[in-house]
């Protein structure tokens, strides 16, 4: 009831200018005064008269309340009446209703879907205790080309023991765990984690216990904590799982816990966690960088303070370990920012885009309502004449538009359920997965608010127009068609102009994104991804401890696979492109002075087989490829990429030059450069290549093992997957094979987010285009109807069809050009916001803008043509009798 009162007060105050209460007091005051006067005239004294009048009147406040009550009841009754009437009106013109609901539903659906994504990604707190206090800590090795490097265990240990700003610091690293035992052998993506990981995050297992410090020392019994997903998928949600043993990498691990649902650190791919069990030796190693470090800030410590502290520790470490830590800094990044990556600008861009779409939809429906209101003029004038207040009429019209928008909201919500699933790719792996339908209370509320405000937004203009029109004028015009004041025209024109402007902005944004995507697809990544099958065969350390059996494994697998029919070439590598941004080793170049600490050269290192370059169709620029003769025991050789050749040897030709892995003083053999290959985009298609070297696996043990098998096929790569797998198993029947996929999928995944952005923005822009076309069409065809008589007169006076055509086109194009000018100016101003999302195209790309303008012009032409044709065919005789 309180709500109703609020609304009714609001309505009263809105339409009756808040004078209701004052007037009421004045009215009742007058009554009492008048009664006092009467009583005095009857002979009472002033005092008696007053008392008698007041007692006769009774409680003034009660009377007032009684009056106010009529407003409330009246409001409710009116509301019910308005809703019924509104429904009837909507029913009476089903095509209008359908069109308006459809237009708005699309707009609202886009908003709801993007909202639920944005809510998930930007707003909703991460599922950890006080997630805002969590930070990731990185090494700053910019001097070596790694501005955000994965920390070495030694640095992690020292940060942990020396800092004054963190409650605690934990570390994780990738674990490839081969699960054997019941069921197929399976390569699980796990994480080695320090025992305090979950306490730093502030989560506890759903089943069993957390890691204890004693689980995390070398030689302790192996334990594991499963993710909810793995527990359900592989162990059928066995409630008795705690204490059971599973076999990982041929060793027994006891399951001590199952994590809560939704707990997915650091990403949703992680299936289980096992203690890192760092040795003292590892914890003093500052040169091997492979950890990810998470820390919880102490209360009242700011990120800035933490970074100051980290920098101080880093410079201490620099002095203590000049070899490894020279020029290596440290810094913290808030966890959310870290997990979010670069999606924020994309999501904000989409939020902007859907707002535009909704605005266009509103303008469109407002336009329709305006035309309808003109048609309903007589009805409204009649109601006003019969005593309805303007407030009442406005209220009734607003009810109608809100009804429309609520229908649209309901439809839109259904559409958005589907849309959200479709858009889930936009959510970074580290953030919450889209669970269920994606529609929850928040999305529901959002949709409701958006629908209602949409209804008010597009309803208020036509409704308020009603209160302006001249009663007598409208009535006199009777059933006439031409009774539209110039004000109506201007409003409708304004709406179309703004629609065109908004659509231009959307189209321009979409054009720029599409061009970026096109640039990326046409970019030469340095390899050919088509017809290549990739898979991972991580060799279990326990089984392949020695170098020789590993080499033998690769040799045999390659020989067998290459002998298969339909196989063009096969090669092993440590990482195929797009699977590892790092994997680098420090080198020393022969004949050059030993670099000062901090200037060490650290090229990416790829350990490859003979035919790897051929398999990926990498380009040999100069020199020769790795050949059969580059066997074990022969002169160690390497290929370098163009960036490495250019950056490390500058003007010199690197072929024939030598370098070694590690420092001068190390006993490692000198490696001779035999050729230069084209740069390969390892880290991402939109990321330029680093210096990179390729070393044959059979010549020496570099510490990195080839893990990826790439196979170039003549036909569909996946068709050969099973055959290739069989060949691997014929070499080692226990060898797990993981990640079997076409290399093209990796390329696609790499662009998935961009593709989704471009697809969505294009979709929204297409929607905008459609709406604008309909908008221009509606306005012009309405104008033609309105001007039928005038056109008739013109034709009667000798105007040619061409003149009429020109007249209508001029009207349409005036709107279009105004809108286009505004829109182009606006998109030039706004496209700066897109800069981060673009690739190889300027935010002011003239071709994109021109293309968009031309496209829209073509569409406007079409929208003008139909009404213009109708105008041309106006028969003057009929037209003159039109009224």
């Amino acid at each position: 009831m309180r709500r109703v009162r609020n609304i009714s007060n609001w309505v009263c105050s809105l339409f009756r200018r808040n004078t209701v209460d004052q007037e009421l007091s004045a009215e009742l005051g007058f009554h009492i005064e008048r009664q006092i006067e009467e009583n005095r005239a009857a002979g009472m004294t002033e005092k008696e008269a007053r008392r008698a009048a007041l007692s006769e009147f009774g409680g003034v406040e009660q009377v007032k309340e009684g009056c106010r009550d009529t407003y409330r009841r009246n409001y409710l009754e009116n509301l019910v009446k308005d809703i019924r009437y509104g429904l009837r009106m909507l029913q009476k013109s089903p095509s209008f209703t359908f069109f308006a609901v459809a237009v708005l539903a699309l707009g609202i659906a886009a908003n709801s879907a993007i909202f639920s994504i944005a809510d998930n990604v930007l707003v909703r707190p991460l599922p950890y205790r006080d997630p805002d206090r969590l930070v990731m800590v990185w090494e700053d090795a910019s001097a070596y080309g790694f501005p955000k490097d994965t920390p070495a265990p030694g640095n992690f240990a020292d940060w942990r023991s020396r800092n004054q700003v963190f409650e605690d610091v934990a570390a994780i690293s990738n674990a490839s765990l081969n699960l054997t035992g019941s069921g197929n052998p399976e390569d699980l993506l796990g994480k080695w984690a320090t025992a305090n990981l979950f306490s730093v995050l502030g989560v506890i297992p759903a089943l069993g216990r957390d890691f204890l410090p004693e689980d995390d020392i070398p030689g302790a019994p192996h334990v594991a904590i499963l993710s909810q997903g793995l527990w359900l998928r592989r162990f059928g949600g066995d409630p008795q799982i705690i204490g059971k043993e599973i076999s990982l990498n041929y060793e027994k691990y006891m399951v001590i816990g199952v994590m809560q649902h939704g707990m997915q650190f650091p990403d949703r791919e992680t299936e289980l966690w096992v203690p890192s069990r760092f040795t003292t030796q590892q914890l003093t190693n500052h040169g091997n960088h492979f950890l990810r470090v998470i820390a919880r800030l102490k209360p009242a410590i700011s990120l800035k303070t933490a970074n100051v502290n980290l920098a101080a520790i880093a410079s201490e470490l620099e002095k203590e370990n000049p070899d490894s830590n020279a020029k290596v800094g440290a810094f913290a990044v808030p966890l959310r920012e870290e997990l979010l990556g670069d999606v924020r600008p994309a999501i904000l861009m989409l939020v902007g885009a859907v707002c535009f779409v909704l605005l266009i939809a509103c303008a469109n429906v407002a336009n329709l309502l305006l035309s309808r209101a003109t048609g309903r003029r007589r009805e409204l004038a009649m109601r006003l004449a019969l005593g309805a207040t303007r407030g009442r009429v406005i209220q009734q019209m607003l009810t109608e538009s809100i009804l429309l928008s609520l229908f649209a909201g309901a439809t839109g919500l259904l559409l958005s359920v589907w849309g959200t699933k479709f858009m889930a790719t936009l959510i970074p792996a580290g953030l919450a997965p889209m669970t269920g339908t994606g529609v929850d209370g928040r999305v529901l509320l959002f949709t409701l608010v958006v629908s209602a405000s949409t209804g008010i937004l597009f309803g208020i203009i036509p409704a308020s127009r009603v209160s302006q029109f001249q009663l007598t004028f409208s009535l006199k015009q009777g059933g006439g068609q031409s009774g539209v004041g110039s004000g109506g025209h201007r409003l409708r024109d304004g709406l179309v102009v703004s629609e065109v402007a908004l659509a231009i902005v959307l189209l321009a944004g979409a054009a720029l994104l599409i061009r970026s995507l096109e640039n990326l697809y046409h970019l030469d990544p340095g390899f050919r991804a088509d017809h290549v099958l990739v898979m991972r065969t991580p060799l279990p350390r326990q089984k392949y401890e020695a170098f020789a059996p590993r080499v033998a494994f690769y040799d045999q697998v390659l020989a067998r696979v290459e002998s298969l029919p339909g196989i063009v070439a096969a090669g092993y590598t440590t990482w195929v492109p797009l699977t590892n941004t790092g994997g680098a080793t420090g080198i020393t170049i022969e004949g050059k002075p030993e670099p000062a600490p901090g200037n060490i050269l650290i090229p990416n290192t790829r350990i490859v087989s003979l035919h790897y370059m051929k398999t990926l169709r990498m380009k040999l620029i100069e020199g020769r490829a790795i050949e059969e003769g580059d066997a074990a025991g022969k002169l160690p050789v390497a290929l370098v990429n163009q960036t490495m050749a250019k950056n490390y040897w500058l003007e010199e030709n690197p072929i024939g030059k030598q370098f070694k892995v590690g420092a001068y003083k190390e006993k490692a053999p000198w490696i001779t450069v035999i050729g230069i290959v084209g740069d390969v985009h390892q880290a991402g298609l939109d990321v330029p290549a680093r210096a990179e070297m390729y070393l044959p696996y059979q010549q020496q043990d570099f510490g990195y093992e080839p893990e990826y098998l790439a196979v170039r096929t003549a036909g569909d790569p996946m068709a050969l997957a099973e055959l290739v797998r069989q060949q691997i198993w014929s070499v080692d029947k226990e060898q797990p094979v993981a990640g079997v996929m076409p290399l093209e999928d990796l390329v696609d995944d790499n662009l998935a987010s961009r593709r989704m952005q471009a697809a969505l923005l294009s979709g929204f822009a297409a929607l905008a285009l459609l709406l604008v076309t309909l908008g221009i069409y509606a306005v012009l065809s309405f104008a033609v109807t309105q001007r039928t008589q005038e056109i008739g007169v013109r034709v009667a006076l000798g105007a040619q069809p061409r003149d009429i055509l020109r007249m209508i086109f001029a009207q349409g194009f005036k709107l279009f050009l105004t809108g286009a000018a505004i829109g182009l100016a606006a998109s030039l101003a706004l496209s700066r916001a897109l800069v981060h999302l673009l690739f190889g195209v300027s935010a002011y790309d003239p071709a994109s803008f021109a293309g968009v303008a031309i496209l829209l012009a073509a569409v406007a032409l079409l929208a003008c043509y139909l009404p213009a044709r109708r105008a041309m065919r106006v028969d003057p005789l009929v037209a003159l009798r039109y009224e």
Binding site: F30, Q35, V63, G66, C67, T70, N74, A385, G387, T389
Partner: protein
């Protein structure tokens, strides 16, 4: 709301409409007039009168206007709208039908 009140309310509406049909009148005058004309039988309570006036106004049967009263004060005058006139005619004939019907029943028994 129970039936008898409805009847009273409907009747009060009718009385108000009829009273101001002659000329625009303010609330006090309406009450006075009804009392006087009914020979003090119908005493209209303020607590019923003013809500009724406001309700009738919202139903657009009557409209109001501020004007100067007979004692030179600002007073709110109510008058019938066109719709109100029609409504009054209809209600009057309804009332007559109803009361004569009741009269017939009372007489015959």
């Amino acid at each position: 709301m129970s039936k008898p009140t409805d009847l009273v309310q409907g009747t009060l509406d009718l009385l108000i409409l009829k009273t101001i049909a002659l000329e625009p009148m303010h609330g006090w005058a309406i009450a006075q007039r009804i009392r006087r004309v009914s020979n003090n039988v119908l005493q209209v309570n303020q607590g019923a009168l003013y809500p009724a006036l406001h309700r009738l106004e919202q139903q657009a049967w009557i409209q109001s206007k501020w004007g100067e009263s007979e004692n030179h004060r600002r007073a709110k005058y109510y008058s019938l709208t066109k719709a109100g006139q029609k409504y009054l005619q209809a209600e009057e004939s309804n009332w007559e039908r109803l009361s004569s019907a009741i009269g017939l029943v009372l007489k015959t028994v």
